[in-house]
């Protein structure tokens, strides 16, 4: 699937203040854990505006910033950088399970 990798697309992200969970600013100005619901800025100017909005809504989050994303033909968003991919999808290995007697 073709991806828009032009580097112009971005979403606003932060960590939730109460629990540190990764969240994104949606179109309604609320913070959601779902990347697919994130408001997308399609050029640099829109990105600046999005970031300003995120900072204005920063009461419940820590340090909002812009994350560059790609969008495929069906509109699925994915962060461009490895750091942000990991931030969204979690650990890239199996952590030991709670109450495991041994590592698997």
């Amino acid at each position: 699937m073709a991806k828009n990798l032009s580097g112009d697309l971005s979403v606003a992200s932060a960590n939730r203040l109460t629990d540190g969970v990764v969240v994104f600013l949606d179109d309604a100005g609320e913070w959601t854990q779902r990347l697919e619901r994130a408001a997308v800025a399609r050029d640099k100017r829109a990105g600046d505006i999005l970031l300003e909005r995120a900072k204005a809504e920063a009461f419940t989050v820590v340090d909002p910033y812009l994350v560059a994303v790609s969008e495929d033909d069906s509109g699925v968003l994915e962060p461009l950088s490895l750091r942000e991919k990991i931030r969204v999808s979690g650990l890239t290995f199996e952590a030991i399970a709670a109450d495991a007697v041994r590592y698997a």
Binding site: N15, L17, T18, D19, G20, V21, V22, F59, V62, D63, L80, S81, L82, R83, I86, R87, G90, L91, T92, F93, A95, I96, A97, A98, D99, A100, V101, R102, Y103
Partner: protein
């Protein structure tokens, strides 16, 4: 807050210590409330939460719990298991500074988690932030054969002096102190902001060598000796003088040049010594001088347990050694001499094949606590190599301990061997990282899993850091691996010849261009092969490297990557 601690052989909190920790928790509870209500901005709150151990990572907050001088009672370890289960995801990571990290803590739960810690005389004070951090010691302290004096006595004295120090709570940068009581420095004192080495002079007196300005990270440096011999009762005055000079003159214009090692480098060791000694001379006979009684009252609490005499040679153990190769290898690598002939120090390997290094689940922590109660005087240590230690195991009990650890997956006979890898959390967890370290450690661990092979290769320390901050101590690995980011791709820079053992401190030399993630195992394989082909009698990997130099290793690695 009532609390009856069972008999421990290390410092026991009294009501003063408990009150301070409790008041700190209440202060933090109020600070969290004011942050959540918006009264405090993040900028104002950040140092307050850092100095209570709460660090924001990629996915969540991380709580770094202090384990002073790496010493735990079984009761404390059980509480850590409990807290991990109740407030986190049921596991924790033991770090290179003898702390425990829980990776999924909620800010709103943090005051309760800290209150739970306080129930067993533990805390997370000053494990982060621009303050004096957890003072680390030799993980064999109090049990090792070569010990001159137990460094943990001094770790406790320094811990109290440095906790909520009104003058030094806003330093230019973090400050790390390590103390060794043995000529074989297992605390890496020469790569700390201040390293202290206890030694005995010709007159038979025991005092400190004071080493200042060591450190790893962006600009690794080996510390300079400011004072060859410092009388023990003047330690706090000397530390206060050093910290005051640093607080006044350390750089604050550039985050990367703010450690004391940069100050020492820029003004020179001679000038630094002059400044510190001048300040020290003015305060050494004042209120910081330690009365003998104060030292004694703390030292007494570290008196080694009165261990009942146990036989040094045990028929059943000798027999098992001959019958069971795994047990024999485990004895060789994971078991060390103890000052008493009928006992040994057992290292609990938290490096099972393919596992994230240094992690333990709540159940595993409780398992180790049970073994400690039954076979190690209820005491556990945390090493700098992301392993645990049972400091007082009778020779007679070695087989049953080995079996019990085996059930937990912690009896891999790999201590000091190629799969006893030190790895920072890396990009999987850490917002500062450029690359991942845990999957790299896992792949190396799986590749070299065969224990016989590991023992044949011998002592080989691989240390992996996910960024230049070097929390994996890659500069001092025999093989050091540093994750870097080149145009969004993870690459790994390999260095050889670093060391922190046996009083020798050396920084590794970079081998060549960084290698791709999927080539790291092959590169390590090539390094090992080069060593095995070239090694002389009794030579470890690092010895062969020192003898033959980098070229043969370089040729072999870059032929395959």
């Amino acid at each position: 807050m009532r609390c009856v601690m069972p008999d421990t052989h290390f410092y026991r909190y009294d009501d003063y210590d408990r009150t301070l920790v409790a008041e700190r928790v209440e202060q933090f509870r109020d600070q969290v409330r004011r942050r959540l209500s918006g009264e405090l901005t993040e900028e104002q709150f950040k140092p307050l939460r850092l100095t209570n151990g709460l660090y924001l990572q990629l996915h969540a907050y991380m709580l770094r719990i202090a384990i002073p001088y790496g010493t735990l009672s079984s009761r404390q370890l059980r509480k850590l298991a409990d807290i991990a289960r109740k407030y986190d995801r049921g596991y924790g990571h033991f770090t290179t500074r003898q702390n425990l990290q829980l990776n999924w803590i909620k800010l709103e739960d943090a005051p309760d988690a800290l209150a739970a810690l306080a129930e067993v005389d533990m805390h997370a004070m000053q494990t982060s932030g621009n303050v004096i951090r957890n003072v680390t010691a030799d993980h064999f302290a109090g049990a090792a054969l070569d010990e001159i004096e137990d460094p943990r006595i001094w770790c406790e004295i320094v811990r109290q002096w440095s906790t909520l120090h009104p003058e030094f709570s806003f330093l230019p940068r973090k400050f790390k102190i390590a103390i060794t009581g043995s000529p074989n420095d297992r605390a890496a004192v020469r790569v700390h902001d201040i390293g202290l080495r206890l030694w005995r002079n010709e007159a038979g007196e025991v005092g400190f060598e004071v080493i200042v300005g060591g450190g790893l990270g962006r600009t690794p440096m080996i510390g300079k000796t400011l004072r060859e011999f410092l009388p023990k009762d003047e330690l706090l005055a000397y530390l206060e003088a050093t910290l005051r000079v640093y607080n006044r003159y350390g750089r604050r214009d550039n985050l990367y040049k703010a450690r004391i090692k940069i100050l020492v480098h820029e003004v020179g060791a001679e000038k630094m010594r002059e400044e510190v000694e001048a300040e020290y001379a003015k305060i050494k006979d004042g209120a910081l001088k330690l009365p003998a009684e104060t030292i004694e009252s703390i030292a007494r609490q570290f008196a080694p347990p009165a261990l009942p005499h146990r036989p040094a040679v045990v028929g059943a153990v000798e027999a098992l050694k001959l019958e069971d190769r795994d047990f024999a290898l485990w004895l060789k690598s994971n078991v060390s001499p103890h000052r008493m002939a009928g006992y040994r120090i057992v290292t609990v390997s938290l490096k099972p094949a393919g596992a994230p290094p240094g992690d333990a689940s709540s159940v595993q922590m409780e398992g180790v606590a049970d073994i400690a109660d039954a076979y190690s005087q209820g005491e556990i240590r945390v090493s700098h190599e992301q392993n645990l230690v049972l400091p007082h195991v009778a020779v007679e009990d070695l087989p049953v301990v080995w079996l019990a650890l085996g059930r937990l997956g912690f009896a891999e006979a790999n201590v000091g061997k190629i799969t006893d890898i030190i790895a920072c959390p890396g990009l999987d967890y850490c917002a500062l990282a450029n690359a991942r370290s845990i999957p790299v450690a896992q792949s190396i661990s799986n590749h070299f899993a065969r224990i016989g092979l590991q023992h044949d290769i011998g002592d080989l320390k691989i240390k992996i850091s996910g960024c230049i901050n070097a929390c994996g101590h890659h500069h001092v690995g025999h093989i050091g691996i540093l994750g870097v980011d080149k145009n969004g791709v993870e690459l790994y820079q390999i260095s050889l010849g670093g060391d922190v053992d046996f009083g020798k401190t050396a920084l590794g030399t970079i081998l060549g261009p960084a290698v791709a993630a999927d080539k790291v195992v092959e590169a390590v394989d090539a390094l090992v092969a080069t060593y095995l082909d070239a090694r002389g009698e009794g030579e470890r990997f690092v010895d062969t490297y020192r003898r033959i130099g980098a070229q043969p290793f370089k040729d072999r690695v870059y032929a395959v990557v």
